[in-house]
Amino acid sequence: MSAVAQLEERASVRPVRPRDAIVRYSGIRTWGPFLVVLVLWALISAAGIFPSAFFSSPAEVWERALSLVERGILPAYVGDSLIRLAVGAAWGLVIGILLGFVIGLSARARKFCWPALLFFQAIGDIAWLPILIVWFGFSLTSVTIVIVYTVCFPLIISIVAAIDAIPANMLRAAGSLGASRLQRIVLVVVPAALPGLSSGIRTGLGYGWRALIAAEIIIGTSGVGFMMFDARRQGDVTQVFVGMIVLGALWYATDALLLAPFEKATVERWGMVEGIGR
């Protein structure tokens, strides 16, 4: 190794301060604020600032959550919601990724599809619900189509944007090293589009999740959305709180168990994005 390489190597290593490490890795940073909010929440409800019909205490919410779990309602509903989301998202991913790459790679496909694509994405998922109900009734099909629709568009748009953002010199480098068009697509375009793909999946699932809740409220036979709205009809604020916390926790889990590890292993490892997460 040359002397310069050694010098440069030394310069690129950043010292880690112990205090930073504690804050970063102990989880205090992430969970501390939630603890504070929990305490505030308990204090506010104990002080009786809001009428109890509008605002439950943490203890009430916890008890209700436990009893919903014991009676098997919560697990069943969560399961229903997750399966609907998974089925819709899976179809949405397949269609969205395929269309994203086709539209991103072919100038002609892009010219033809782009305005129509923007228009259909503008209509928005929820607005499709009434006509879907007319066509397919209050059924799983209607829900699935809405979610597929929702997941697709952000995915397509961010894949196309990511393909557009590939530095021209990267493609040129591959070409001048002898890569054919197919090789450039597989070996350069696909990995280079991964940051866009992962942010598209994040956005798509975010929208899909909301669409599911709306669909469950409106179509309403089971699921977390249904549980919340059913509780709302009976003026049961505690159960609405339970629903919201479950929704938040599920989103966190999806992010922490599926999306974040994928990004850590790929685009973050390669230094293509900073450690983000929305």
């Binding site: 209509i123 928005g124 009434p130 006509i131 007319v134 999740w209 709306a214 609405v240």
Partner: protein, 279 residues
């Protein structure tokens, strides 16, 4: 293996020699073609296949309904109700969200506390609040405005914070060493520096808000585009449903173009700041 130069240009997105008026006309034709094709299919296929108007309306029927609703004023009632709710909710969210986001971006302590809460809230914002909003505010305008507000608010705060953090340290130092007071820093440094990111946040937030609006109107009101959409479903008035869907799409595009895109365009193009494309 080698390839031709045009092949290269296509992949690298380079157009060696094009431009001018002819290509603008060609672009317009490309833009219109999918819509013309869809309209043609609609006009030809729906009558040919003998589809019942309870399943899918004919194009003339939708046009007729559009005229009728325009004349009897019901169209305006629904559209204005929806737009007013979006406007109020978004305005409040922007007015509170931007200063709060800048505070979070400037202060490490504030952002360390709020950032995890915010990530949680952005994920929940909008539709998930409908049950709680209708409990707190009853069925009606207030609940819908609240849903719009919180959809926009969390996205704006979060993105403003990110934007402020992205202002280069040396720009901050330069401004301070030139004697900028906190107030000046806010108006002259943090706000313009974060503008591209704020615009992104606004678009994301409005995306959630627009969907939240439709859902909330379906559930909680007796006027608005979402309401009329869902009411029509009850009577299988597919012409009204399709009309409303088209209007919702067009209004969103107009809103996105007229209000949000120029903000983004001005800030990004003029200062040459980088931009995250997409929704």
């Amino acid at each position: 293996m080698t390839m031709t130069a045009t092949d290269v240009a296509r992949v690298a997105g380079e157009s060696p020699l094009r431009g001018g008026a002819r290509s603008r006309a060609v672009d317009a034709a490309w833009f219109a073609s999918p819509f013309v094709l869809m309209a043609l299919l609609w006009v030809v296929i729906v009558p040919a296949a003998g589809v019942s108007s309870r399943v899918f309306p004919s194009l003339p029927a939708v046009a007729q309904t559009f005229g009728a609703m325009l004349l009897d004023g019901s169209l305006w009632t629904h559209v204005s109700a929806s737009l007013l709710r979006v406007l109020i909710g978004a305005a409040i969210a922007i007015a509170i969200g931007i200063p709060f986001g800048i505070l979070m971006g400037v202060s490490k302590a504030v952002s360390a506390f709020f950032a995890p809460l915010l990530r949680f809230s952005v994920a929940l914002a909008g539709i998930a609040w409908i049950p709680l909003a209708t409990l707190w505010f009853g069925y009606g305008d207030l609940a819908v405005i609240f849903v719009v507000f919180n959809a926009v608010f969390f996205a704006i705060v979060y993105n403003t914070m990110l934007g402020v953090r992205q202002v280069p340290t040396n720009v901050l130092r330069a401004a301070r060493s030139l004697g900028a007071k906190p107030w000046t820093m806010f108006w002259q440094v943090h706000l313009p520096g974060a503008a591209p990111s704020i615009a992104t946040g606004l678009r994301v937030g409005m995306g959630f808000a627009w969907r939240g609006l439709i859902a909330a109107e379906i559930i909680a009101t007796s006027a608005g585009m979402g309401y009329s959409l869902f009411l029509a479903r009850q009577y299988y008035e597919t012409d009204v449903i399709i009309l409303m869907m088209i209007l919702i799409g067009i209004l969103w595009l107009v809103m996105d173009r007229l209000i949000l895109a120029p903000v983004e365009w001005r800030t990004v193009k003029r200062w040459g700041a980088s931009r995250e494309v997409g929704i």
